[in-house]
């Protein structure tokens, strides 16, 4: 997978956190401000804050603005959340409404608050 192709991205500011070895590098691919995308972003932020405090970095990528990334990163479904790091790559598609499934998908144990 082309994990090195980060250069072409206009990343939004990292939402949170300092970097450690097991920092999750997450990207959320959306296509414009569609309701599904907005819901997904809201859900994701909530999950990150609740379960991944300080352990993640998030980029939101709008494919309407950078369509070539869809090919480079093999995005088909929208919205798609990609865990680029740590390897292997994980993809979670959908509006991320099921927190448990998202956590399983990201392969992180939920941390007690």
């Amino acid at each position: 997978m082309r994990t090195s192709k980060v250069k072409a991205k206009p990343p939004k500011a990292p939402v949170s956190g300092k970097l450690t070895n097991d920092t999750l590098e997450l990207r959320l691919y959306v296509a414009g401000q569609t309701p599904k995308s907005l819901i997904a972003l809201r859900n994701l932020k909530k999950i990150c804050e609740e379960h991944l405090q300080g352990r993640y970095r998030l980029h939101v990528i709008d494919l309407v603005k950078t369509p070539q990334l869809a090919q480079d990163d093999q995005i088909l479904a929208i919205p798609t959340l990609v865990r680029n790091l740590p390897q292997p790559i994980r993809k979670i598609i959908g509006d991320l409404s099921d927190t448990q499934r998202v956590l399983v998908g990201l392969d992180v144990r939920s941390q007690p608050k």
Binding site: L76, I78, D95, V102, V104
Partner: protein, 580 residues
């Protein structure tokens, strides 16, 4: 349909008839059956089982569109990577990387890895649209190929969403006027496994790959073509070094141009049996006979004569190699080598089992187009007979049609299986051919002799004789027709019969001699009798003359006596009364 096919190259030209606009696929034969290609600006589904050539069809449509019709294309492949695709089409002589560099094509490999993907909540396939849009825009594409897009069904669980998105995708493609080919796997009892044909209602092409007796045949059928007439048959097709080619079963019309020109068979006596001038050019000749009856020799004669007059011959041998044929023909005084060297005779020998009928047909097509012969000889066609006679029949009909269309004289030899059924060729193509020469062996008196017979020859007053022929060092020689009474004799029986006839003639001669002598004796006798009678007649005539003279003398004397008497009695001659 034929009229429509002419439109292929001028698809953009305005037409009086409001016809569906078509985009030429560039695939040999396909544009002919569909009357111009796939519907322009609409999606077409190409479905079939694995290995039937769907991807090849789609690729050729795309690449030919980009290279020959100036329509850039987008290839979205769901199964094979760009490198694999390049390699696949490389064998057909297409250079995919160079087309990509020239921005004539855009390739997007959509990788779907179900194990990587977790679904939570609602989503759609907007990413696919984004990618497609990006691809179309970056090369200004007019054509799109989605190669086995059903693969997405394996990647996503939400089938309802997928169907809605596929429907949206086809709408999207149509709205943008993109001529699209979508390949799809055949399903159980349905055209496609996921029922894609439901969404694409414009044109559905079904490909099939079946094996009969270890020989595979690929077939194509236009299942549906909305708003256009199209051939409905199953058309055989091939994928070879030149790409995809479909061969229409037969020409639609029977309107070959005919010729009055003649072409010699190479055997003078045979020409004589055909009005003295041989075959019509552009006609088809069938030579049938049992094994060893001299079919190949007859064909070689024809080839030899045609080459001698400077014409080109394509000789396709299914039984013997080129070297073997030339060697064998040398034994009957035919030197074919010289014409092979001159390039007039093109020899092709291959095994009939080497490939399916379609391939044979296509190979002949290719050879004919390449070599442009005036005469094609196939020796023998019988070997093509596989399990399915109908297929052979159809194939030969197409071959004949093809050759006739190009005004090529065709000679086929065929082996008849057993005695008694000679008048019925195995392949049943006798009705398709114009001239049928039958060779048969007559077994008599412990020997086997060859006979030749022109069973039919359309359009000429051919001989009805059965002629014996011999293969000599100087070639085929027809013996003079035996015109005597009774049966035809061949071989030694013929010699015996001729001896008998000679004896008969001699006896007659002797009888005649005797009669002649008899007659001359009689003549002598009669002539002497005539002489005797004639002398008798002349002596009678002399007697009559003598009597007449005597009478005249007597009368004269009487007159003189009277005059004397008058003088004595003093009577002048004036008053003398003459009473006599």
């Amino acid at each position: 349909m034929a009229r429509a096919s002419k439109r292929t190259n001028t698809a953009a030209a305005p037409r009086a008839l409001p016809q569906l606009k078509k985009a030429p696929s560039g695939i040999a034969g396909f544009d002919e059956i569909t009357g111009g290609g796939v519907p322009a600006g609409r999606p077409t589904i190409v479905c079939g089982g694995p290995g039937c050539g769907k991807t090849m069809f789609a690729m050729e449509f795309l690449i030919r569109g980009a290279t020959e019709f100036g329509e850039p294309g987008v290839l979205m492949t769901f199964e094979e990577t760009s490198e694999e695709m390049s390699r696949n089409v490389e064998s057909l002589g297409f250079n995919l990387p160079s087309l990509l560099d020239q921005k004539k094509l855009f390739l997007d490999y959509v990788r779907i890895e179900p194990s990587e993907i977790q679904e939570t909540g609602e989503y759609d396939l907007e990413g696919l649209f984004v990618r497609l849009q990006h691809a179309v825009e970056s090369v200004g594409a007019k054509r799109v190929v989605l190669d086995t897009m059903e693969a997405i069904f394996s990647g996503f669980a939400n089938v309802g969403m997928l169907r809605a998105e596929i429907r949206r995708l086809f709408r999207w493609l149509k709205d943008r006027g993109l001529t699209t080919v979508i390949t799809a796997e055949r399903g159980e009892g349905t055209l496609t496994r996921y029922g894609l044909e439901e969404y694409v209602s414009d044109c559905v092409v079904s490909l099939d790959h079946r094996v009969n007796d270890q020989i595979s045949t690929r077939r194509m059928r236009i299942v549906k073509y909305r708003g256009s007439s199209h051939g409905t048959d199953e058309y055989p097709f091939l994928i070879d070094a030149k790409g995809f080619s479909v061969s229409p079963l037969s020409s639609i019309r029977l309107d070959h141009k005919v010729s009055k020109d003649r072409i010699s068979s190479g055997i003078k006596d045979l020409d004589v049996m055909l009005e003295g001038r041989g075959f019509f050019t552009g006609s088809s000749i069938l030579v049938s006979g049992t094994s060893g009856s001299g079919k190949s020799t007859l064909a070689a004669h024809f080839a030899n004569e045609t080459c001698r007059s400077g014409k080109r011959v394509l000789f396709i041998a299914f039984e013997e190699s080129s070297a073997q044929v030339t060697r064998n023909m040398r034994s009957v005084g035919i030197n074919l080598d010289q014409y092979i060297k001159k390039g007039l005779l093109h020899f092709r020998a291959w095994r009939p089992t080497q490939h399916g009928l379609e391939m044979h047909l296509l190979r002949v097509h290719d050879l004919v187009n390449e070599f442009k012969p005036q005469v094609v000889i196939v020796d023998p066609i019988t070997n093509l007979v596989s399990a399915n006679l109908n297929e052979v029949h159809a194939m030969l009909m197409r071959l004949l049609d093809f050759l006739k269309d190009r005004h090529i004289t065709a000679m086929f030899t065929t082996l008849t299986a057993n005695r008694g059924a000679e008048e019925q060729t195995e392949v049943g193509i006798s009705s398709l051919t114009d001239t049928w020469i039958l060779l048969r062996d007559l077994e008599l008196n412990g020997e086997r002799n060859r006979c030749l017979y022109v069973l039919k020859s359309r359009g000429m007053a051919h001989s009805n004789q059965i002629r014996e022929f011999v293969l000599s060092r100087t070639g085929v020689r027809l013996l003079p027709a035996y015109v005597g009474a009774g049966t035809v004799y061949t071989g030694s029986a013929r010699v015996a019969q001729e001896a008998r006839e000679r004896a008969e003639a001699l006896r007659e001669q002797q009888q005649l001699e005797e009669k002649r002598k008899e007659f001359s004796a009689k003549r002598n006798l009669l002539e002497s009798q005539i002489a005797a009678l004639r002398s008798e007649l002349s002596s009678d005539e002399a007697a009559v003359a003598r009597l007449t003279r005597q009478r005249n003398e007597r009368q004269h004397r009487v007159a003189l006596d009277r005059e004397e008497m008058g003088k004595i009695r003093g009577v002048t001659p004036a008053n003398q009364v003459v009473n006599s």
